[in-house]
C-alpha cells in the first residue's frame, strides 16, 4: 500500500472513476483519456452511457459500468482500490458528497472532487475535507456576464 503510493507516478497515466454519466462527465472522460488515463464511468442507468464517446468505449479507454456509486461492490468493479482520481459528477449533490467521502476515507483516493450545485451546501464541504465544485455557479456567472455586457 505504502509502496504503491511511493512508486505511483504523480504525473502520467492515471486510473480515474467518474460517478454519473451526463454531458459534463462524458466530456471530462474524453479529455482524461486523451491525456492517457483510463476512465471508469458509473451510472445506474445504462441509457446514460449514450453520452460517452463511442470510439473510446470501444477501445476500452472509457469503461462504462452500470452501478451505484455509493456501493462498495460497484466501486470495486471500477477498480476503486487502485484509482488515483474520483470525480462525482451526478446531478444529485448529496449522492456526490457521499461518494466523495467514501473515496476519500474508504479507498484513500488521492484526488477526489465532487459536484455540488447548491451554493450553501458547496460552501460547507471544504470544512469536511471534500473538494466541492459548483457547476451551476460557474455557468450562471458566464450567463450573467453575457447578459450584463
Amino acid at each position: 500500500m505504502i509502496m504503491s503510493q511511493i512508486t505511483r507516478p504523480l504525473m502520467g497515466p492515471k486510473n480515474a472513476i467518474i460517478i454519473g454519466c451526463n454531458i459534463l462527465s462524458s466530456s471530462i472522460a474524453s479529455s482524461l483519456v486523451e491525456q492517457g488515463d483510463k476512465v471508469y464511468v458509473l451510472d445506474p442507468d445504462d441509457r446514460a452511457f449514450d453520452w460517452l464517446e463511442e470510439a473510446k468505449v470501444e477501445s476500452q479507454r472509457i469503461v462504462p459500468i452500470v452501478g451505484d456509486g455509493s456501493s462498495r461492490k460497484d466501486l470495486e468493479r471500477a477498480n476503486a482500490s487502485d484509482t488515483d482520481v474520483l470525480l462525482a459528477l451526478s446531478e444529485d449533490d448529496i449522492h456526490n458528497a457521499l461518494v466523495a467521502q467514501i473515496a476519500k476515507h474508504t479507498y484513500q483516493t488521492r484526488i477526489v472532487a465532487c459536484r455540488i450545485d447548491d451554493r450553501k451546501l458547496q460552501k460547507m464541504y471544504p470544512a469536511l475535507g471534500v473538494h466541492a465544485i459548483n457547476t451551476a455557479d460557474i455557468s450562471s456567472e458566464l450567463f450573467l456576464d453575457t447578459a450584463g455586457s
Partner: protein
C-alpha cells in the same frame, strides 16, 4: 430538548411519538406532502415539508436551537448530509443516523456521526435470536473502544437445570470482562469467583466477536460430567 427528525416514515414517526410523550419538542422533515399530513395527525403540527438538504427547510425546523438531529430516511446519502449540515452549519450537539447499507458503518463513524443505528445488523441479530435458541446475544456494540467490543448477554440454558456452572469456568480471554450477573429470580450480583450459575441466570459481559463465539461453543458443549 428540541429534536429534528429527518424522514417521517414509520421509524421517524415512532421516534417522534416517544419524544413527544417524554415532553420534548420535535420537528419532522419530510419531502412528501402526504407523509406530512400523517405526521401532523399523529404528532400534532410538527411536520416541515421539504428536503433536509435545503438549508431553508432546516431553518424552518428550528435547526439553530436543535439539540439532536435524527436522520431516519432509507437513503444513506440523505442521512449523512442531514447530519453533516446539522453539525457544520448549525452546530447541533448530537447527530444520530440510521444506516441502510452496512458498508457505510465505518465511514459514518469516522465522519463523526455521534450515534449510528445499523438497521440491517439490528434486524439480523434480532431474527437470529428469535429463531435459534441463542444462548449468547449481542446486546449493544460499544463504539470508541477501537477493537470492536460489544455488550454480550449469556443466558445459562436449560441443560444446566440439574447442575451448576461456576462463573469462573467461563472462557474469558484477555480484554473480556463480566460486568453483572442477573439471577433467574431477578436479583443482581456483581461478578465474584464463588458464583455458581444455574439455568435461567443471565451474565452480562463485555467482549469481542471471538469471546461471543467461544462462549457459545463452551455452553453448547453442555454441563461437564465429572
Amino acid at each position: 430538548m428540541h429534536t429534528i427528525i429527518v424522514g417521517g416514515e414509520k421509524i421517524g414517526v415512532s421516534i417522534g411519538e416517544w419524544l413527544v410523550s417524554e415532553g420534548h419538542e420535535i420537528a419532522v422533515i419530510d419531502f412528501d406532502k402526504n407523509a406530512c399530513t400523517n405526521i401532523d395527525e399523529a404528532l400534532g403540527a410538527v411536520s416541515v415539508f421539504g428536503v433536509c438538504m435545503n438549508v431553508n427547510v432546516l431553518q424552518k425546523a428550528g435547526a439553530e436551537r436543535a439539540d439532536v438531529v435524527i436522520a431516519t430516511t432509507t437513503r444513506d446519502d440523505v442521512n449523512l448530509a442531514a447530519c453533516q449540515i446539522a453539525k457544520q452549519m448549525y452546530h447541533v450537539p448530537r447527530t444520530v443516523s440510521i444506516i441502510n447499507d452496512q458498508d457505510n458503518a465505518d465511514l459514518f463513524d469516522s465522519l463523526g456521526i455521534d450515534l449510528i443505528v445499523n438497521l440491517t445488523n439490528l434486524l439480523t441479530s434480532h431474527i437470529q435470536e428469535g429463531i435459534t435458541s441463542n444462548v449468547v446475544a449481542q446486546l449493544m456494540p460499544i463504539s470508541g473502544t477501537g477493537n470492536e467490543k460489544s455488550l454480550l448477554m449469556l443466558r445459562v440454558p436449560r441443560e444446566y437445570s440439574n447442575s451448576t456452572l461456576p462463573l469462573k469456568s467461563l472462557p474469558l480471554p484477555e480484554g473480556a470482562a463480566v460486568t453483572l450477573v442477573i439471577r433467574r429470580d431477578g436479583t443482581v450480583s456483581f461478578p465474584d469467583e464463588t458464583i455458581m450459575l444455574q439455568a435461567g441466570d443471565e451474565v452480562l459481559l463485555i467482549g469481542s466477536d471471538v469471546v461471543e463465539r467461544e462462549l457459545r461453543d463452551f455452553v453448547a458443549r453442555g454441563p461437564t460430567i465429572i
